[in-house]
Structures are given as structure tokens and as C-alpha cells.
């Protein structure tokens, strides 16, 4: 098993080196004067939509993003429980199916509550 992860680890190193290489090529070419490099203040200002930038960039965001991320986290953990069960369902039999139904039903209480309270809508 560890051989396979050896492949994955070495592949990760190769991929990171490859992507870094792709980002570095233009920098190398810049020193060979093939890629132009003429910065000036106007060019290096923030583009945004073409107009002058107004106000700060890092503005505060809608709380709803955070709400969805929280629900996502809870459901993600639920799904993690479902994977081993799905692999071994044939051996585990009907009892485990009932157990998973209960597991999902408990979580679904929260889901139905969120739906009823209309917080699943984007505001």
C-alpha cells in the first residue's frame, strides 16, 4: 500500500516542480529580452473594471456565505460516515442500513428546519 503512496508523493513533487517551472518560464524569458517588461504606475494600478478604484478592496461580506459553509461542514462529516458503510454494505446487511437511515434522519431534522425557516434562500 505504501508503494502507491510513494508514487503519489513523488508525483506531487513532480507536479509542483512542473507548475512552478511553467510560472518561471516567462521570468527567465524576460531576462533574455524576449518577454517585455515596462512597468509604469498606470499599468500597475488595479484594473478592476477599468474605472478608478473606489474605497477599500477587502470589504465585509454577506454572512450567508458563512452559513452555507457551516452546513457544508456538517454534511461533509456525515458523508465521511457514509463512505465506509457504502463499501461494506453487502457484508454489513440490513441492520446497518437502518442505522444509516437513523443517522441521516437526525441530520435531516436540521435540514428541514433550515428549509422551513427560509434560511436556505439567498438574501
Amino acid at each position: 500500500m505504501l508503494t502507491n503512496y510513494g508514487y503519489i508523493g513523488l508525483f506531487l513533487i513532480a507536479v509542483v516542480l512542473f507548475t512552478l517551472f511553467m510560472v518561471i518560464i516567462p521570468i527567465a524569458l524576460r531576462f533574455l529580452k524576449i518577454v517585455p517588461h515596462n512597468p509604469n504606475p498606470i499599468k500597475n494600478s488595479t484594473f478592476e473594471c477599468g474605472m478608478e478604484t473606489i474605497g477599500r478592496t477587502w470589504v465585509q461580506f454577506n454572512f450567508h456565505y458563512y452559513f452555507y459553509a457551516l452546513i457544508f461542514l456538517a454534511l461533509d462529516v456525515l458523508v465521511v460516515f457514509l463512505y465506509p458503510w457504502a463499501v461494506n454494505l453487502r457484508a454489513l446487511g440490513f441492520a446497518s442500513f437502518v442505522a444509516v437511515i437513523i443517522l441521516v434522519a437526525i441530520i435531516l431534522v436540521g435540514y428541514v428546519y433550515a428549509w422551513k425557516k427560509k434560511v436556505l434562500e439567498w438574501k
Binding site: V35, F47, F97
Partner: protein, 375 residues
């Protein structure tokens, strides 16, 4: 010398490779590293060509047809052009993060292919947790996109990145639940085992799961009609507004590499991967990937972009309940013994169940206001 010759012989004849082809640790690794990177780059160029020409045909245009025969060299020309462009980084940007973002976004897209089989046992690493690895690794590229949005110090970039996070967060759950259906039938998480288990392609046994996975997968990689994060008419170009030259090209690559990755996963999970008559396995695999990608292009040209409230409602009020139904129906069928001699009856039943569920739930969905903001 003899071992090298043997290896080269093995490389040429994919079909003669036994499932546990070792070929020596380093040879195996080197071969598949080169093959995977080459495969992804070639496929990306191919699918960009297919998308541009196919979309042009669907919109009664010609598309790029000047560079080389039928415009086949257009992606090459684009690559050279973009390589020679000036690299502009805004003064206000967080330079390091701006520079690292393409790397963090691109590496996971390539990493996915480490577990995708090109033939029986022809893959870099046949992990026991294969599909879970794919789901886990693909979630890392969100971080790269958020780094790009943040590092640009641009309101629209940040908004694009936030929308991306919202889309990924919402569509990840239906995506992984749709996969659980396939895992239930094949009884394994290894992608190669899943393909081996597909005597009948799982698209027939899991039609609802396929639809859910396709929709959620398109949303996950932000393809139209779910491409809110780079909606040109609203937020310029989303998270890569401030990128130019090679780094912009990297994000372009990421977009298509992820599309190829999702197509490859769909082909492996639902269309039987490398299995097929006559043609060699890897060719079947490539053909299936291109078919799935073409379906994505088709949906892109057919459907208009949806609003963000519709995006969220579609995930939470339509796909999520449907994927739970799919999961439990499949589990019951597996528990009932999945009668192998009655496969065709099962297929008909599954298609009927899919049609009824989709129809009934869409009625309900429309009645509940399609996620429209309630005033």
C-alpha cells in the same frame, strides 16, 4: 538493457500489461508522470479546440479556422502568444500570494489523474481510497482560486472567489452523495475496481446518479450555466481579472484541466472507463472523455447562466434531496441482492424511478418559488 527493452515493449502494448505491472518502481513512476502530464496538456489543447469549434457551429459561426488545417494549430498559437506576453502584477496586490495562486490551483487538477485508470491496472497508483482521494484533492484547488481572488486586491476578483466558494460548498455534497451510489454497487473505492465491476455501464444502473453528478460536477468546476464566478457581464472576469501572460494562461489551463478531470471521472464511474470492444482500452477512455466533454459544451451553449439565488436553491433544494433518494434507493436494491440475471428489468425500473422523482420534485421545486428571494 534487457529490462529496459521489456519495459518499452510493455509501454507500446498497453493490453499486454498485467494488472500488477511493476516495471520497477522508478520506471513506473517516471513513465506515468510523463504520460499523465503529457495526456492532460494534450487533452486540454484538444478540448479547447473542440469547445471553440463546437460552440461556433452551434452558434452558426465558423470559429478559429485560419491556423493550420481546420484551425487545429490555434491552441498552439495561443500558447506561444500567451508565453510572450508581459507579466503585469498590480502594485496593490499581495505579490507572493498572487504568484503562488496558479500553482496551487493547477497542481490538484493534475493530481487527480494519478488514480484514473487508462487500462486494466494501467494507472500511477491504484489507491484503496481512490475516489475519496479524488474528491479530497479536488477541494484543494478552491484554495488556489481564493488565493488568486485575494492576492489581486480587486473587489471583483474577491467577489468571484467568494462566489466560487459558495458554489463549491453547495455542490460538493450532491457530488459526493452521487458517488456513494456507485460505491454501493461496486463495493470498492478504487477506481480500477469500479471499472472492473462495470459489466453494464453504471449510467444504466444509476441514471439519476449520473445526472446529479453531471450537474454538480459542472457547477463544481464553474462551467456554464453555473459560471457565476466569472460572469463577464457582472464581475469583469472574476478571480483572474488581474492576471496576465503566463499566469493567466495557467488559470485558463486549470479551467480546462478540471473539465477534463471531471469528464474522466464521469467516464470512469458511469461509462465503463477503459472497457469496450475492439479498440485498445486507452483509446476507449479518451473517446469517452471527449464524449462527456462534448455534452458539457452542449449544455453550455444551450442553457443561459443562472442567478446566484437560483444556483444555491438548485443545489440545496433540488440536488441534495434527490441525491439522498438516489442513495437510499440504490442501497435497498443492493441489499435486495441486485439480481444479476434481471439486470435489464432493473435498468428499466431505475429509469422509471429517475423520471418520476425528477418530475415530482421539479413540480415541488417550482411551487416553492425556485429559490426566488421572498419579499
Amino acid at each position: 538493457m534487457a529490462t529496459i527493452e521489456l519495459n518499452i515493449y510493455n509501454l507500446v502494448n498497453f493490453q499486454s500489461i498485467p494488472p500488477d505491472w511493476p516495471g520497477g518502481f522508478w520506471w513506473h513512476w517516471l513513465f506515468f508522470t510523463v504520460v499523465i502530464i503529457g495526456f492532460v496538456l494534450t487533452m486540454v489543447m484538444g478540448v479547447i479546440y473542440i469547445e471553440r469549434r463546437g460552440m461556433a457551429r452551434m452558434q452558426s459561426r465558423l470559429g478559429p479556422n485560419r491556423t493550420g488545417p481546420f484551425g487545429l494549430l490555434q491552441p498552439v498559437a495561443d500558447a506561444i502568444k500567451v508565453l510572450l506576453k508581459e507579466n503585469i502584477v498590480p502594485d496593490a496586490a499581495d505579490k507572493l500570494i498572487h504568484w503562488l495562486a496558479p500553482v496551487v490551483a493547477f497542481a490538484p487538477a493534475l493530481m487527480i489523474f494519478a488514480v484514473v485508470p487508462f487500462g486494466n491496472g494501467v494507472l500511477l497508483a491504484d489507491l484503496n481510497v481512490g475516489i475519496l482521494y479524488v474528491v479530497a484533492i479536488s477541494s484543494v484547488s478552491t484554495v488556489g482560486i481564493f488565493m488568486a481572488g485575494w492576492g489581486s486586491s480587486n473587489k471583483y476578483s474577491l467577489l468571484g472567489a467568494m462566489r466560487n466558494v459558495a458554489a463549491v460548498v453547495s455542490y460538493e455534497i450532491p457530488l459526493v452523495l452521487a458517488i456513494v451510489g456507485v460505491v454501493l454497487i461496486s463495493g470498492s473505492l478504487s477506481l480500477n475496481q469500479m471499472v472492473v465491476a462495470q459489466d453494464v455501464p453504471f449510467i444504466l444502473l444509476q441514471p439519476l446518479g449520473f445526472l446529479l453528478f453531471f450537474a454538480a460536477g459542472c457547477a463544481e468546476i464553474n462551467r456554464s450555466p453555473f459560471d457565476l464566478m466569472e460572469a463577464d457581464s457582472e464581475i469583469v472576469a472574476g478571480f483572474h481579472t488581474e492576471y496576465s501572460g503566463m499566469k493567466f494562461a495557467m488559470f485558463y489551463l486549470v479551467e480546462y484541466a478540471e473539465a477534463v478531470a471531471i469528464s474522466a471521472i464521469i467516464a470512469t464511474l458511469f461509462l465503463g472507463g477503459w472497457r469496450g470492444p475492439i479498440l485498445p482500452p486507452w483509446l476507449w477512455f479518451v473517446v469517452k472523455v471527449i464524449i462527456v466533454f462534448f455534452a458539457m459544451v452542449w449544455t453550455r451553449t444551450t442553457l443561459p447562466r443562472i442567478r446566484i439565488d437560483q444556483l444555491m436553491a438548485f443545489a440545496w433544494k433540488f440536488l441534495f434531496p434527490m441525491s439522498l433518494f438516489n442513495l437510499f434507493i440504490t442501497a435497498l436494491q443492493v441489499l435486495a441482492g441486485w439480481p444479476t440475471e434481471l439486470v435489464w428489468a432493473m435498468i428499466i425500473v431505475n429509469f422509471a424511478v429517475m423520471a418520476i422523482l425528477v418530475l415530482v420534485w421539479s413540480k415541488l421545486f417550482f411551487k416553492l418559488g425556485r429559490g426566488r428571494i421572498e419579499v
